[in-house]
Amino acid sequence: MKYVSLTDLALIVAVSIIPLPFALLSETYWLYVMVLSLIYAILACSWDLMRGYTGILNCGPAAFFGIGGYFSALSAMHLGLSPYLSLFIGSIAALIVGLAIGLPCIRIRGPYLCTVTIGFSEIARLIVLNEDYITLGPYGLPVPPFPGIPKIGIIFHLFNYYLTFVGFIVCFLFLRRITQSQVGFILKAIREEEDAVKTLGLNVTKYKLFTFAVSCFFTGLAGAFYGRYVLLLSPEILSTDNSFLIITMAIVGGTGTLTGPVIGGFVLTILNEYLRDYIYQRFVIYGAVIVVVMMFAPGGLMGLLKGEQRPTMTFPWKIRGSKKEVNNEPSNC
């Protein structure tokens, strides 16, 4: 058994060559979609470490995404840091905020944690919206691109894609290292039965904070890349809509796999572009997608690919009288 499986390798190779056909065809629009997909793949992947492994339901990943983006851009603009260094400033800022939110959240689980994280992401959005002397509020914050490359054209897109790809590789391999290692088993054990882990002499708080730190770091990194690529940060990226987009990606791809959320990130970003005409109905559609995935394929796309058996369907009108197994497991979402 090695840290990286064949599926992971296939995925990395696929992700590394996917923009090339579009570059050859000079399809800048599709190149743009690909870079966005890759950024969302990092987001969904690091969200999956929290939910799919440690079992922490963080419903406000977009807040850390925005914090990463804004801190990175502002630190480069006001402190004159190099844009590459500022990527880390953004991630570290997200990590610190993640720990600050994680610490009081350790004792709460499930829907309570969900409420707290949604509340926090809304607070973060309102701060960005209202502290306009530094964030420029609703006008959005213009961000300069990485120096030395043209602002438009295929080179710009490809450069950003492969720079983000470096971030993606680091994120994916680090998360894979964690999940395949001894720590990974502890995280999964915390997801399954927290009390039992405590009686084994393991400090659950420490491992939960570790998860928060790692996940928020990479979420912030994705935000920093996003700012440098889209060249404009707006409070919209901290919205709950964006959080649930990330969550939908991870669930559709299959939580607890890391590869699934990456695929989900690509599939849903592309779908998102097709649904641009239905901007208001979009999230109704995503809600329906989550319900359908939970009912018919709880393992998501990865579960389907692995040929995971889907649970016997229990329609509401069938529950009475049918031999329904008593299920004490926590729901998947």
């Binding site: 502890i186 039965e193 039992a196 084994l200 002499g201």
Partner: protein, 249 residues
């Protein structure tokens, strides 16, 4: 020498007194039975010793050190392992992975040094222990798919891997058939022979009378008797607590 000393232990849930001035000692290497009618506070006592609950009054001394107020993981690190009445295994992990988590808990390694795959040495220790409890053939099965009796054994195996000096077993034979109970008795005796002190909470008298060196009886949160199994079986207060005053011969 006393391994565990419980003194004046009182635990209240609001107005309800779950434990009232409970006092007892556990001598090193003995098997102490803890019995009493339903709701008499046996599991509450375990939860106090183990750190899940904080008693209002009294002290619990383990190896001469007061452990009241420590968190469960710190108490586990001092060498107190436990199992649960309703098994709390990690259902979606395999048997091997379940025990691995126990081994890691006992190893006290840092997070960074644990960022590697399980080593051969660890696998060997897990295999040895799984063989000891008789689970080696089920090593790679997902824990939720193994029979209930084996789940109970798995929980014991996991607790043993943290190298406890004191093991708290909460109803190790609840829900098992007679053959499985005999098996469980053998396992508990083997564990005791390894030099581990054991406290057992149990309702199955066949098991508790057979293997306990001493028995403590609780009723309504109070200790009503303590002594050798044979003395307990004849004790008037115990019979009255279990069956009612009319049954005292």
């Amino acid at each position: 020498m006393n391994l565990l000393t419980v003194e004046n232990l009182t635990k209240r849930f609001g107005g309800l007194v779950a434990l009232k001035n409970v006092e007892f000692n556990v001598v090193e290497r003995e098997i102490l039975g803890l019995i009493g009618p339903n709701g008499c506070g046996k599991t509450t006592l375990f939860n106090c010793v183990n750190g899940f609950l904080k008693p209002e009054e009294g002290s619990i001394k383990f190896k001469g050190e007061n452990i009241v107020g420590l968190s469960p993981y710190q108490i586990a690190r001092k060498g107190i392992g436990r199992t649960f009445q309703l098994v709390k295994i990690f259902p979606k992990l395999t048997v091997k992975e379940n025990t691995l988590v126990g081994l890691l808990g006992g190893s006290k390694a840092s997070t960074w040094s644990m960022l590697q795959m399980p080593t051969r040495d660890q696998e060997e220790r897990i295999d040895a222990l799984l063989e000891f409890v008789g689970l080696l053939s089920k090593k790679d099965e997902v824990a939720q798919n193994i029979p209930y009796a084996l789940k109970k054994k798995l929980e014991i195996a996991r607790a043993l891997l943290i190298n406890p000096t004191l093991l708290l077993l909460d109803e190790p034979s609840a829900g098992l058939n007679p053959a499985e109970i005999m098996d469980q008795i053998k396992l508990i005796e083997n564990i005791s022979q390894r030099g581990i002190t054991i406290i057992i909470v149990e309702h199955v008298m066949k098991l508790i009378m057979n293997i306990s060196d001493r028995i403590v009886v609780l009723d309504m949160g109070e200790k009503i008797a303590e002594g050798k199994p044979k003395e307990i079986a004849r004790d008037k207060r115990v019979i009255s607590a279990y069956l009612g005053a009319g049954f005292i011969a």
